[in-house]
């Protein structure tokens, strides 16, 4: 019964999306203005109905209703509660339903709260949002119905991929999804503003909270995904430049650029065409990413949901939305005037420079990701990896970080470089001193790592400079957000550079009782014993690790075997200290009965993820700042309107 209700509600929501699109189009014509009043309530209703459909699917998964095909294929009655819940979106159909749900709910919220944008631009935006949603509704209802029943209920479910049965991963895809889909709102705003030729500060202010929100989720999603790959794949690496990872990085890069150009447009009325372009590009990258992951067009170490036919469908949607938006851009962009101007030394100029660098990184990541396909078209099979990505992205990233240290100190419109000599000179001296120290004391550290280690402390200090001379309690939240996020970049950079410069690795075949030295750690394999969990069994190694001759800590790396469906997974064990992480992996048993063990000592590696968390926190502070000032403004205008009304009587 729940499945049928879910399906019916989904169809109704799709019909409302169609209505929203048609009413929006008519309302934008000279004679159809009265239909415009329909668009907002329809958008809200559509959001409510889709949320109900999603709730229905969640219920089916939580109750493990095996008469529903999707549940039978992806769930199992013996799964822990949390993975039953995660099973809802841990598959193609469910994730697509989640996609439209987030999209429609976000559209409903825009319809409810957005009051400052010109009404026709808002209607065009909501119509655009409905247009994008309709494609996904069609995909869901015609090609991947999540509520399909089996002719007779399955005796038991098939289970969820063991690699995915991990708390971190249960919430990593939806986090990224919220980010991807949040960018669809930015896309709709950009399209709406292009349609009504209304690219200005009001549009940027309306779009900014959505971009910020999406960006926060993308940051968290990427950070969590990186940590997940680090500790479950058991390879000790934290970023592999795999197509799936690049697919999540590219929208983040575009969203970062969009966020910055959005704030220029909002406060300075400059960079109009550029902001609209980035609004389209950011969502394009979400769609391209989804397409690359789902179509299986590129070989990836973790392609879970590969299906070329679904890929074609997403590609068709991509062509319609992105091709359409870019055509509209080509037609309209020359009518979008340039906006306010600024001098070469100004905050705008620094932001433009950084946006160009971000787009440069985006370009090389996209090129690197597609390169194997490109050369295969010419008859050569290649794979592109860190030797390409690391140095080439550094060419853009290093100047970007230098300008990032300076930019926030500059004034809008016009400034004199001489004004900020000292706040720039001190961090620069610190960086130079660190670089010199590394060259003298650790000459074997690679150039890129050395630069990263040197830039990081300088950048962190420079990023805090905008706070100098301010009363900290009266500093706007948005400024705090910027400072925290920029410091987060410095922290993450330090972690990355330290990991690549100072990691030590040890592979050893060990008998119980054997010891090894890994960096400052003494590790001893004490024994191996079988253990059992709720739906897995494992070989569990007991490793005693002592840092620099201190008290030993017990670590338990495992090799887990899952029954439903059958599969194996290594479960690494980590010991985190303030200055780094010890990483232990239990490998296979060799022929001589010794166990393959792998150990890494990675100084300061957790800073990569602390940095990621700081960046997201910065975004959150900025978002809170924006939203609270917006709420205050709404309350104030509401009071004025109320008083006027009373005086009028």
């Amino acid at each position: 019964m729940i499945a049928e209700i879910g399906l019916a509600v989904l169809w109704m929501a799709a019909a409302l999306a169609a209505l929203q699109l048609i009413a929006g189009i008519i309302a934008l014509r000279p004679k159809g203005a009265q239909l415009g009043t329909l668009v907002r309530p329809v958008a809200v209703m559509q959001g409510v109905l889709v949320a109900l459909a999603f709730a229905a699917l969640v219920t089916l998964f939580l109750t493990t209703d095996l008469s529903v095909k999707l549940v039978a294929d992806n769930s199992h009655s013996a799964k822990p509660f949390i993975f039953k819940l995660a099973g809802t979106w841990g598959n193609h159909e469910g994730s697509m339903l989640m996609w439209v749900t987030i999209m429609a709910v976000a559209g409903g919220i825009v319809a409810l709260v957005e009051k400052r944008l010109r009404e026709d631009t808002l209607i065009a935006t909501l119509a655009g949002q409905a247009f994008v949603s309709l494609g996904f509704y069609a995909f869901l209802l015609l090609a991947s119905n999540p509520f399909e029943r089996l002719p007779e209920p399955a005796p038991e479910g098939a289970g969820l991929n063991p690699l995915l049965q991990d708390v971190g991963l249960a919430f990593h895809p939806p986090t990224l999804y919220v980010g991807y889909v949040g960018l669809s709102i930015a896309f709709s705003f950009a399209v709406g503003a292009l349609v009504t030729r209304d690219v200005g500060p009001a549009f940027a202010r309306a779009m900014r909270p959505w971009v910020l929100g999406a960006w926060i989720f993308l940051t968290l999603g990427i950070t969590a995904g990186s940590y997940w790959a680090y500790y479950t794949l058991g390879w000790g690496g934290w970023w592999f430049w795999d197509p799936v990872e690049n697919a999540s990085l590219m929208p983040w890069l575009a969203a970062t650029a969009l966020l910055h150009s959005c704030s220029v447009l909002a406060s300075r009325n400059a960079l109009r065409a550029w902001t609209v372009m980035l609004g389209v590009v950011a969502f394009s990258m979400s769609m391209v990413g989804t397409f690359l992951v789902r179509s299986g067009i590129l070989t990836s170490v973790h392609a879970f949901a590969v299906d070329p036919e679904r890929g074609s469908f997403i590609l068709a949607l991509l062509a319609i939305y992105i091709g359409g938006a870019l055509t509209l851009f080509g037609l309209r962009a020359s009518t979008v005037t340039e906006g306010a101007r600024f001098s070469f030394v100004s905050r705008e100029a620094a932001l433009v420079f950084n946006n160009v660098m971000l787009c440069g990184i985006l370009g090389i990541v996209l090129l690197g990701t597609l390169y194997p396909l490109l050369t295969e078209a010419m008859g050569v099979k290649v794979s592109v990896g860190p030797p390409y990505f690391n140095p080439v992205s550094a060419i853009f990233a290093i100047p970007m970080m230098l300008v990032m240290a300076v930019g926030p100190l500059l004034r809008w419109r016009q400034d004199k470089a001489g004004r900020i000599t000292w706040p720039v000179a001190i961090p620069a001296l610190i960086s130079a001193a660190v670089l010199l120290g590394i060259v003298l004391l650790a000459p074997r550290v690679s150039l890129l790592s050395a630069l990263g280690l040197a830039i990081a402390p300088g950048l962190a200090l420079a990023s805090m400079m905008p706070l100098r001379g301010r009363k900290l309690r009266r500093t706007p939240l948005a400024t705090w957000g910027m400072v925290v996020a920029h410091v987060g970049i410095a922290v993450a950079l330090f972690g990355m550079a330290s990991e690549s410069a100072f990691s030590t690795e040890k592979l050893a075949a060990m008998n119980p009782g054997d010891s090894q030295q890994v960096g400052p750690w003494r590790v001893t394999l004490q024994g191996i014993a079988p253990v059992a969990g709720q739906n897995w069994t494992a070989l569990d190694a007991t490793v005693a690790a002592s840092y620099d001759g201190g008290e030993p800590t017990m670590l338990h790396p495992q090799a887990r075997t899952f029954a439903n469906p059958p599969g194996n997974r290594t479960e690494s064990a980590l010991k985190t200290r303030w200055n780094g992480q010890l990483y232990t992996v239990l490998g296979e048993e060799g022929e001589d009965g010794r166990w393959q063990m792998r150990f890494w000592w990675k100084p300061f590696v957790p800073m990569i993820w602390y940095g990621g968390a700081l960046i997201a926190l910065g975004g959150l502070l900025a978002l809170l700042g924006r939203v609270s000032s917006e709420v205050r403004r709404l309350v104030a205008t509401g009071k004025i309107a109320y008083r006027r009304e009373r005086q009028g009587r």
Binding site: P201, V280, G323, A333, L370, P565, P566
Partner: protein, 190 residues
């Protein structure tokens, strides 16, 4: 600036590079052509290498016929073996049976996994086409099939003496494929 309907400030002297505005669309078109090519190119890469070099996942299947035992992972130790994924309802599986028989005659040990099958049907199939299998496991929900990266029937895997998948043959084994499979078995044994 507060009224968005104001015409935007004019910047005398800035040219509007009309053509540059079409550049993004051009780049997107190039991307589109590339991925369309990627999607339609001959697909022989699909599952091919994904599971090669990986150990078989642990499984324990009940027997699919009355005169052969079921199949579990413990048998894959010692010398290299073939693992044949088949079904009585699959026509190419019947077509490849002479090749399997030939391989069995040369001393190759072959284990079978019957996909979504019934005992009676398996018995009839084996009576008609010969029985080259040492063991046959019954995989009713395609669990093992999916876990070893097989997406259809028939498929044949070369498993080495440590239970590691060394080669995957997709589709029926033609007479001309037999030498290749023997070579892969020899390589797996060395």
């Amino acid at each position: 600036m507060s009224d968005p309907r104001d015409p935007a400030p004019k910047n005398p002297g800035t040219k509007k590079p009309g053509l540059a505005m079409w550049l993004p669309l051009g780049l997107f078109a190039a991307f589109f052509v590339l991925v369309i090519w990627g999607l339609v190119r001959p697909a022989n890469r699909e599952v091919e290498s994904a599971f090669i070099g990986k150990p078989l996942p642990a499984f324990d299947l009940p027997p699919a016929s009355d005169d052969r035992p079921g199949l579990n992972t413990t048998v894959f130790s010692g010398k290299p073996r073939l693992l044949n994924v088949f079904a009585s309802w699959c026509v190419p599986c019947a077509v490849e049976s002479p090749q399997l028989a030939a391989l069995a005659q040369q001393g190759v040990e072959i284990d079978g996994v019957a996909i979504r099958d019934r005992k009676d049907d398996v018995a009839r199939f084996l009576a008609q086409n010969g029985n080259p299998f040492a063991r046959i496991g019954k995989d009713d929900l395609s669990k093992v099939q999916l876990a070893i990266g097989s997406s259809g029937v028939p498929e044949t895997f070369v498993i080495d003496g440590k239970g590691v998948i060394r080669y995957q043959h997709i589709g029926d084994i033609r007479p001309e494929d037999v030498p290749l499979i023997l070579r892969k078995l020899a390589e797996a044994g060395s």
